[in-house]
Symmetry: C2
Subunit: 299 residues, 2 copies
């Protein structure tokens, strides 16, 4: 781990504990042969990942005084979608990866059929969580959370970006197409995390502009940093296979811009993201530090 | 096709057209490399299947005067979940089927990665549809529709039943376990179809008892009929491979009860289902005929 300022380090520790506890409560192991499925869901959802998306959601919602438990619930829903997408991405017919978060991928630890079903079940769990009254007592808020997350994860969002990514192995994309691909594949769920914080905070559309701009900038910066990590990162710290883009001859921000320009672009985006939040002053410090972490992380 | 009374035959024809048109509108093919994904979703969702679940939902909602377009939207959401589950079930790592609705399965017509993503995208589309104001102007109804469908499709519903089904190849289930498996795998989504009709109709919990009992009975009858068709059916009419249960040595209602007793049980359940609706008189004729169709269908 890089040395993180205390505020961010403590925020990560706290939210990792909270998200783990919430998933533990959402997923009791049943006393029948579904146990294998729920064990696989728990394996993927508990104790894994940095929880960047839940932290984005909670930190956004705190600007508007949202109850923290409600925001943690919504954060778990986003994380359930993220976790399902990693399980399916790692399948042999997709990226065929053996390692994720430093441990065997779900289809390696269990089997492929269980991995498909565990991903599908985490997908359904996300929407189950969002419709629980604990997430919001206002049904309008619950329905808007579902709408935001469903659109961000389907063919007009994350899954659409993954399709573009697969096709990119056969086609040479230009920078415009790579940007669009990444806006969908990674950016949509990061943007949804911020948006769901705004929905929970009942922020009217005209008050959302600057946080949406922040989300757009960090989404792109996140993917540029990921491409840089794929080239320059340490596999042990990453807990997964790296340098796969190169082996597949895929275009990335780094192949198209070069590493130096990509790094400069990511830094510029993060500075710009911070400026969008200037109206919130010190209250937005966590979101500003999170933006910086996104480009400076080493895994 | 067996000869069907006009009421049911016309109801099927009408809803098949309506569901196809709705999916056509929900899924315009984008002008970028996501086109392949949306084509695969359309391939699975349009012109395929009898639409039993949407018909159950619409026929239930009509007992309570629900706007038909709203009910068709909700029916498309259930059908999107059903379609995604078939795509994933047919994958090589699951049932490894080449044929569905008389045409190549999605992973055969496209490829496995596209099939995984098309399933995932239809899954997300279901919840996207349910949160659109066209489905209900009341956000409480929208949120309840999502809650009902999410719970019926995840680890406590359909996906849980699929896991139990996979495990059943290794373990000898008794009749109680087979019943539980089928209540989840098939019954949960059929019951959700009826329940969503009740949600749209704003029927209070105490008014739902008889329709829930109807749904439970036809869910079980449906699966017994499926097991009988697997043994006795015509592959050409079914449009998919049959006699797979036997090859895998799996216990089914037919292996456990014998074909004659299974048939008698299904008939008894359907008669019982009809009696639950007697309070609705002639208004419930379509639901009664649908229950009869479920055991008498030849595909």
């Amino acid at each position: 781990m890089t040395a993180m300022p205390d505020l961010l380090g403590e925020a990560f520790e706290r939210i990792q504990d909270e998200v783990d506890s919430a998933f533990d409560a959402f997923l009791p192991v049943p006393d029948d042969t579904r146990a294998r499925l729920v064990e696989a869901m728990r394996y993927a959802a508990i104790g894994a990942g940095k929880r960047i998306r839940p932290l984005l959601l909670v930190a956004t919602s705190e600007l508007f005084g949202v109850n923290r438990n409600a925001a943690i619930n919504a954060g778990c829903a986003v994380e359930a979608i993220h976790a399902y997408s990693l399980i399916h991405d790692d399948l042999p017919c997709m990226d065929d990866d053996d390692l994720r978060h430093g441990k065997p991928t779900v289809h390696k630890a269990f089997d492929e059929a269980t991995a498909v079903l565990a991903g599908d079940s985490l997908h359904a769990l996300a929407f189950d969580i969002l419709t629980q009254p604990d997430t919001s007592t206002d049904p309008f808020v619950r329905a808007e959370l579902v709408a935001t997350l469903a659109r961000a994860s389907g063919h007009d969002g994350m899954a659409g970006g993954q399709m573009m990514d697969i096709v990119s192995e056969q086609e040479d994309y230009d920078l415009r197409q790579i940007t669009r691909l990444q806006q969908l594949k990674t950016g949509a769920l990061l943007a949804a995390s911020v948006e769901m914080g705004l929905v929970l905070g009942r922020v009217p559309p005209e008050g959302r502009t600057h946080l949406r701009a922040y989300a757009r900038d960090i989404g792109l910066a996140f993917q540029i940093a990921d491409d840089l990590l794929d080239v320059e990162g340490d596999e042990e710290k990453a807990g997964k296979a790296l340098r796969k883009d190169d082996g597949q001859g895929k275009q990335t921000f780094v192949t198209l811009m070069g590493a130096d320009q990509a790094r400069a672009q990511a830094t510029m985006l993060v500075e710009q993201a911070g400026r969008h939040l200037s109206g919130h002053g010190e209250d937005a410090r966590l979101l500003v530090e999170l933006a910086n972490f996104i480009v400076k992380r080493d895994h």
